[in-house]
């Protein structure tokens, strides 16, 4: 699971924020205040230029006082009437075609998506959810950007604004109406795609009778059979049967099957665990370098993406996760195995091929951070980017070969436990980020998780609708659409946009980039010093300041997406859902205010 930004607890996110940042609410208020002041200034300048300073000031004053008054005069009945009108209009504009497109996508998806993929669920879920996201954002864009301009063009707006309808009610009504239409579409898509993924990936196997071999214990007593299943849906499973002929087809391709005895046959049941919602509890990651010196990060292997850092094999380099609040309550016990369930994702960076198809050997060791008591190493084989779910046994041997209890001896009195991972093969590297190891809590409901992912798509849709409606209060349909598209595209690449604005990206600002393009200079080459370069960089400074201001209100669509959570089988944290919903509310409020003033200050008639 890639999690570049730590998900803070909701209240901390709202009020105080993470280290080096401020809370979302103070940030919202600051931005609102700043933009409000800028809007006021701009409004005054325009009014003063048109009507003179005194009249301009009077107009601005009246616009603000009217705005405050009209906010209190907002009528839910009028808003609902306008929302219903927007819904009827959307229906008339054949919004239902979007559903047909969606179903066509599903039909073709089942033809082209590979079922021999290593993790077909990931492929199917990410495809379906990504398609839903883009489709819904597209519909939201078209509905919201063209509606009000059509009213202006057809002059139907004349019969609205000559009624006691406040401009804010028009903006809210449209936003609410299109949101409801989008919600209905999303609900249908959500149910359909859930059924589609489950039905597409459901399959069964036969136990391959010829592959079964009897298994005996150390005393030579018959304890069951090992073998494999038939090849179905492009894969097989290893099979373990007990003496009654029942058992399990082991986890492979992201799922497993139960095997039951029916008559004299062992029958493989349907796939289980295709859709999961793992609930991780993350710890804090630090490193030891190859000499065993503590570091905040591992080494770089030259990847531009600095999310993960690496430990080199067969040295003292170690990734150390420290987990808090460890107690026996976290223990997993199924009668056969008892211990602490963890999940581990390793990015393997090979400097030589090794044996094709075989993983790289590593070790896991638990340690009491206070006493320094360490367990013996638990060897494992790492396959690149695969989620390795394992249990750290409750009974462990220490480095002194004595047996210890995980919770009593390796957990410090303040509830901390260290888990250390090393790469054991020289010349090979393991790459880690903090979320790559987690304590596995009991899985959440995949259906609820599906709902949460759709909630995040809904949030993106509402933000697009709010932007579209706001833009359409001032701009014509096509221009409002282009404006909204720009917002969406920039929103999806927000980190890059912020990087360019902050000057941390190679290649400089927009003008410098353009200059490099036409002069065929790469982004690293230093520009010759001189007047031209100074001029370019001077103009870029202005552009970058504007971009930085814009970045403050640019929604981070990539961060809002939770498709990766569902695709990789992780539960979307409730804190993230609350944060996204709050952010959505902030955008709707902020954009409605902007939309109100834009609509209020424009002439409806021509």
């Amino acid at each position: 699971m890639i999690l570049e930004e730590q998900i803070l607890p909701y209240m901390q996110w709202l009020w105080s924020g993470g280290p080096g940042s401020i809370g979302a609410l103070p940030r919202f208020l600051l931005i609102a205040l700043g933009l409000g002041f800028l809007g006021l200034l701009l409004g005054f300048i325009v009014s003063a230029a048109r009507h003179g300073i005194l009249r301009g000031g009077d107009i601005v004053y009246r616009t603000i006082t009217n705005g405050v008054r009209e906010l209190w005069e907002t009528s839910p009945r009028r808003v609902w009437a306008l929302a219903q009108l927007a819904m009827k209009e959307a229906w008339r504009r054949r919004v239902v075609v979007a559903l047909m497109v969606f179903f066509i996508i599903l039909v073709f998806a089942s033809w082209f998506l590979r079922t021999d993929h290593q993790d077909p669920a990931k492929l199917y879920i990410s495809f379906v959810l990504t398609a839903t996201t883009y489709l819904v954002l597209g519909i939201a864009l078209l509905l919201s950007a063209f509606s009000l301009p059509a009213d202006f063009k057809n002059k139907t707006i004349y019969t609205i604004v000559t009624k006691p309808v406040r401009a804010g009610e028009i903006v809210m009504g449209r936003t609410l109406g299109f949101t409801l239409v989008g919600t209905i579409l999303l609900a249908i898509m959500g149910v359909s795609s859930y059924v589609f993924v489950n039905r597409s990936l459901d399959h069964t196997h036969e136990v391959d009778i010829n592959s079964l071999k009897k298994v005996q214990d150390a005393a030579g007593e018959y304890i069951g059979q090992d073998g494999r299943t038939s090849l179905d849906a492009n894969h097989r499973h290893e099979v373990e049967l007990n003496t009654d002929g029942e058992g399990k087809a082991e986890s492979n391709y992201g799922h497993y099957h139960q095997i039951v005895k029916r008559g004299d046959r062992s029958v493989v049941l349907g796939a289980e665990g295709i859709m999961r919602a793992r609930v991780p509890r993350w710890g804090k990651l630090t490193f030891l370098d190859r000499q065993g010196v503590p570091k905040q990060r591992g080494i770089s292997v030259g990847s531009e993406w600095t999310y993960r850092s690496f430990v080199d094999g067969n040295t003292q380099a170690t990734a150390i996760w420290t987990f808090d609040d460890i107690s026996p309550a976290l223990n997993y016990d199924d009668g056969e195995v008892s211990g602490l369930p963890i999940g581990l994702i390793v990015r393997v960076f090979r400097t030589h091929k090794g044996v094709i198809g075989r993983g790289i050997t590593g070790s896991i060791q638990v340690r009491n951070p206070e006493t320094g008591l360490a367990s013996e190493v638990i060897p494992f084989t790492a396959l690149d980017a695969k989620i390795d779910e394992r249990i750290i046994p409750q009974k462990l041997r220490g480095t002194d070969d004595k047996e210890y209890d995980l919770y009593k001896d390796f957990v410090s009195p303040n509830g901390q436990l260290e888990i250390r991972v090393q790469c054991l093969e020289g010349g090979q590297y393991f790459g880690f980020a903090q979320p790559d190891m987690y304590l596995r809590l009991p899985d959440a409901s995949p259906v609820v998780n599906w709902l949460k992912v759709y909630a995040s798509i809904w949030v993106q849709m509402v933000i697009v609708i709010a932007i579209g409606v706001t833009a359409s209060t001032l701009l014509s349909g096509p221009v409002a659409m282009l404006f909204t598209v720009s917002f969406i595209v920039l929103g999806f690449f927000r980190p890059f946009f912020v990087g360019v604005a902050a000057g941390t990206e190679y290649g400089g600002g927009p003008v410098e980039s353009f200059y490099r393009l036409i002069t065929q200079k790469n982004i690293i080459t230093k520009l010759d010093e001189g007047f031209t370069t100074s001029l370019i960089q001077g103009v870029d400074l202005v552009f970058r300041s504007l971009m930085l201001t814009m970045a403050q209100v640019l929604p981070d669509f990539a961060a809002l997406s939770t498709v990766a959570f569902a695709a990789l089988g992780f539960d979307v944290p409730a804190d993230k859902v609350y944060q996204d919903l709050t952010m959505c509310l902030a955008y709707v409020i902020g954009l409605s205010v902007v939309g109100y003033f834009l609509l209020r200050t424009r002439e409806v008639a021509r």
Binding site: A49, R50, R62, N66, E70, E73, S75, R77, R78, W80, A81, L82, Q84, L85, K88, E89, R92, N154, K155, T156, I157, Y158, T159, I160, V161, T162, K163, P164, V165, R166, E603, V604, A605
Partner: protein
């Protein structure tokens, strides 16, 4: 501002500008106008004379370049004034995917009317404008006349005190025109204030108490219709059943008093009257050709 003054404009002017702020056209030169409660005022003028601009400024659809318009003592841009206003635009700009009931219900909700009041009002208005049989049809299926009627109904949904009608009879057949004029007179009887703009002079003459004549954005004349249209030095006598001798005697009397006889003949009716009488006759005696060759004043 007195309570009896419903609309007051003070040096109200409008200049249309291009994107760069340059003057394109002066649509309305400073206009001072007061409209009293309960009167019917007609704004007259050729196309482009500033009639519609004046109405749009009064409604707040346009912002004045200079001066101001007050409606019920409030600025034209104050939305709350719309509670007491009904507006019929030039071309009944309505949502064509709604039917008559839905349309009126929608506009009723914009006035925050309760469901019960809306139901009652919608029913009344649909019957009043004669669309009872078409109440469930979408407006896109309506003829122009029907669209004007539903447009008028939406303008009256809130039982307004002030009604602004932009070319109310445009697109209506003579019967519709007559009904619209009757409606305006009925509204006047109910004490409502009506401002209408039109370039159909006969319509204005029939229903308006006062007229304002605009030309090239400037107010050229303002006054009571009867006063403005009275020709002071001409006397008109209308009599029935005069013999030829009697007519000659009248001519002699006029000559004896040094008057100039300008015209003495049988008057003709208006085409509107003729048309309406044919339609009435046709409705009263369906299937028979109307006898209209000789029309009498009776």
């Amino acid at each position: 501002m007195s309570d009896d003054i419903v609309i007051q404009t003070r040096a109200l002017g409008k200049v249309y500008r291009d994107f760069w702020g340059r003057q394109k056209v002066r649509a309305l030169k400073p206009l001072d106008l007061e409209i009293q409660r309960g009167e019917v005022l007609g704004l007259l003028g050729p196309n482009g004379s500033g009639k519609t601009t004046t109405i749009k400024l009064i409604l707040g659809l346009l912002f004045p370049t200079e001066g101001e318009a007050l409606v019920f003592g409030k600025r034209a841009t104050d939305v709350s004034k719309n509670e007491r206003i009904g507006y019929l635009p030039e071309e009944s700009y309505l949502y064509r995917f709604l039917n008559a009931e839905e349309t009126l219900d929608f506009y009723g909700r914009l006035f925050d009317m309760s469901a019960e009041t809306r139901k009652q009002r919608v029913d009344e208005l649909i019957k009043m404008v004669g669309l009872d049989r078409a109440r469930k049809r979408q407006l896109q299926e309506y003829s122009k006349g029907m669209t004007r009627r539903i447009g008028l109904a939406q303008a009256l949904i809130n039982n307004p005190e002030l009604i602004l009608l932009d070319e109310p009879t445009s697109g209506l057949d003579p019967i519709g025109t007559r009904e619209m004029k009757d409606m305006i007179l009925r509204l006047k009887e109910e004490g409502k204030t009506v401002v209408m703009c039109s370039h159909l002079l006969a319509d204005v003459q029939d229903v308006c108490d006062r007229i304002a004549i605009l030309h090239q954005g400037e107010l050229k004349e303002l006054g009571r219709v009867d006063t403005l249209l009275t020709v002071a030095d001409v006397t008109q006598i209308r009599a029935r059943n005069l013999t030829a001798d009697c007519q000659n005697e009248i001519r002699q009397v006029i000559a004896r008093h040094h008057g100039e006889l300008m015209e003495m003949d049988n008057p003709s009716t208006t085409l509107e009257e003729l048309f309406l009488s044919i339609v009435r006759d046709s409705e009263a005696r369906p299937g028979r050709r109307a006898n209209v060759e000789q029309t009498t004043s009776a």
